[in-house]
Symmetry: C2
Subunit: 202 residues, 2 copies
């Protein structure tokens, strides 16, 4: 007896709710918003969704996301970038975040994840052998391990360090410490310990 939303509405709610971090309530809200908004808005989102995957692929060198039309990604194809420094990240979003700082002029290597026994992600699932190959083929002087400061990110960095043991190469990692704008009082023990440990001369 209880009436439900019309099927086309239900279907969109369900499709939205399948996205990570979008619960059924948010999915409903977005759907009913699009019911009232100009239809163009739904169509533009539909088009962008339909075109993203066919329009992108992984760069064969660094495995970052790039457009289908090019051989190498923007960074790898850029002659002005330092080919001797490679920043290893878990995801394309991490590379983008580092680009946004404007402080890095080397290249990237995107692992596409981190080692996680819990989630069943082993080193073989990541672009680790591809990195080892790059290290042996390209003239790389420094590898910056910029995996996340999480259990999985740490384990991945440690694994990489062991995997590349003996290769004449500087391996560094991002500094740990207090985040800018953070409050010492609210810093967790681990962050504060690392900030102490890594203290610098003033």
């Amino acid at each position: 007896m209880r009436a439900r939303a019309p099927l086309p509405v239900e279907r969109l709610i369900e499709a939205f709710a399948r996205l990570p971090g979008i619960g059924p309530k948010t999915a409903s809200r977005l759907t009913y918003y699009l019911l009232r908004a100009p239809e163009q808005e739904s169509l533009e989102l539909a088009q962008a969704l339909g075109e993203m995957r066919p329009g992108t692929r992984l760069c064969p060198r660094c495995f970052n996301i790039t457009t289908i039309e090019v051989d190498l990604c923007e960074v790898c194809a850029d002659d002005a970038r330092d080919t001797g420094v490679v920043c290893v990240v878990e995801d394309p979003l991490d590379a983008l975040a580092i680009e946004r700082t404007g402080q890095f002029n080397g290249r990237y290597h995107v692992l596409h994840g981190a080692i996680s026994p819990v989630e069943g992600i082993s080193p073989d699932d990541l672009k680790i052998e591809e990195l080892a190959r790059r290290v042996s083929q390209e003239k790389i002087a420094e590898l910056i391990l910029a995996t996340n400061p999480t259990l999985e990110g740490e384990a991945t960095a440690m694994f990489l360090k062991r995997r590349l043991d003996g290769v004449p190469l500087r391996i560094t990692r991002l500094a740990r410490g207090l985040p800018a704008g953070g409050d010492l009082e609210y810093a967790d023990i681990s962050t504060l310990s690392q900030a102490l440990e890594g203290r610098l001369e003033l």
Copy 2:
């Protein structure tokens, strides 16, 4: 010099970020999730988006959302529902919420918003005259004003009451008081005042 995300990726991020409550960070997260998920997931969302608007329309009686194939919505077409009671709501989602209680067996009237001078929404922008017409044409014994307990919802309810002044009709509104599972200590003054005012014999 700073590399950006590939254009098809940027476009999807922008399209997501246009949705209400989706900031640029969430939009990026959703986009990069879809880059890794099976392509089918993007395509299903795109299809649901493309089909929702063409597949739906407003019920000509109650103005709730319904499928394009039917004359009247599921509730209006249901002979088992009480035609003498009409619940007036701001949005289709509100009607769905009331349906979910399983406690209401009448029909609905969806106003499609609430009077809001700030947002420039006047009574003419809402389905108010359509409600007045229904009241004069259908045999309606009770109108339950289920607008939101907000300034705009209250104003809309007051406006409706004045607009229908003199019509032989019972006009009621949803009860105010403490929400189930709520904590008296944390109830706001207005809610607690209304709970006191509307107290019931035990």
